[in-house]
Amino acid sequence: MKKLGSQTWQFTTRPVILGSSAVVGPEEGEGPLASDFDFIFDSLEMGEKTWEKAERALFMKASVMALENAGLDEEKLEYFVGGDLMNQIISSSFAARKLGVPYLGVFGACSTSMESLAIAAMIVDSGGGKYALAGTASHNCTVEKQFRYPTEYGSQKPPTSQYTVTGSGCAVVGQNDGTAKGPYIVFATLGKIMDLGLKDPLNMGAAMAPAAADTILSHFRDTGLSPGHYDLIVTGDLATVGLPIAKKLLADEGIPMEETTFNDCGLLIYDLDKQKYTIAGGSGCGCSAVVTYGHILKRMKKGELKRVLIVATGALLSPLSYQQGESIPCVAHAIALESGGEGA
């Protein structure tokens, strides 16, 4: 592993994503990416008695399916790096009970997907182990309950508010022994906290846009690459409000984002015209995780995409912090993936 510039890791052995999984709830199953998901639960309860248990069931299903898709025996797995949005990240820690391997719990709010993938890739790249599982999950109702109001409470949401994705995505990262065909994890650019003073917890897209823009800027500065290097750059969950702001910020910095396709997982996952209840688009840990591990990796396998930069964005607030009038610190972590067929 090599450090480039001030924020980027270059994984010199190019660890491989051996297999991944995307497990979602019923609403995501009605969205445009439904065919890319490995499993769709037909109810939000998932056969469990509490929302928290449902989220855990989601996570466990995704972790088992990722191992299956990777063709890896559970005994061979060496590490699990995971996180979620619940207080004390209970969903991933409880899911980790079953896996029985060394576990690192991480919290990056909705950026957890790429934060955990970066750590898993670092473990494998540095020779700390051969196989590591990275994953995250979120459930619409657990998040509503913890961060906002009871799920059945009748409060009107403003046009800036986003809909938490019910979904879990996991990826098995393996050592690159030359036989696997990719996709390879090439770079990770770790974001720094950006807080430009926004306080509205129902407008997280605008709060997170500077973090996304800053990490994208740092990535290109550290690697010397330009947007045209990638076939697709996606942000985590900036949705309809945040993505145009991120585009504006990057345009002001002179980054030619028009060279590539620049989109957002929160916009990809739902059909905003049909699924009106999603308002500004998707959010939550599961959002970038299921879009990446379901949709994007499948497109890479089909050869439609060769190089992709995923910039997962997280709003690091708590119900306590915004009630006390604090602004929202945000972070974004980027991972560059490359499909097989060149370099090694």
Binding site: G154, S155, P244
Partner: protein, 165 residues
């Protein structure tokens, strides 16, 4: 979005941006609440709930021969029951997204706030869950309702108007 890129007139580098500058830059991109539309919808649904309430009250009066005072309490109880059923069926929050204050202000909104909290926290048990959280949202309505009534009462007393029922 080239058409929008200069709307705010700010083209500062991200590293040097202050929070005031960012607020100004992001403002054109942030859609506001549609206040006028919300007022109309609140008027329609709030009014509709009141009409339903009036219908129920008239029903009690004509069927059970109550006077309007006697019919008031069972009317409120029935509205609360309807609200609780709609909340439990997962419908009330969907009405509320459309109706806004129209479904929040009447007694049905108060019932929804208590019922939704009770349902949500049932998983933490009857005492700590339901009992401890039922007034999570409704509590401040009661507290400030009481405080407001107290203050108005003092004003009445000072002006020598006396209280009346």
């Amino acid at each position: 979005m080239p058409a929008k890129s200069n709307q705010s007139g700010i083209n500062k580098r991200l590293d040097d941006m202050t929070s005031e500058e960012y607020k100004k830059l992001s403002k054109p991109y942030v859609p506001g609440r549609p206040v006028f539309k919300n007022c109309i919808r609140a008027f329609l649904i709030g009014g509709l709930i009141c009409v339903i309430g009036q219908g129920i009250q008239s029903g009690f009066m004509s069927v059970f021969g109550m006077n309007s005072k006697e019919a008031a309490s069972p009317t409120v109880a029935l509205l609360i029951l309807i609200s609780v059923i709609l909340t439990s069926l997962g419908v009330y929050d969907k009405i509320a997204q459309w109706a806004g204050a129209g479904s929040a202000v009447p007694v049905t909104g108060f019932a929804n706030s208590m019922c939704s909290a009770a349902l949500e926290h049932r998983s933490e048990g009857l005492v700590l869950g339901v009992g401890g959280n039922m007034f999570k949202l409704a509590g401040s309505v009661i507290v400030f309702g009481t405080v407001a009534a107290f203050l108005v009462g003092i004003v009445y007393a000072l002006l020598g108007l006396g209280g009346s029922h």
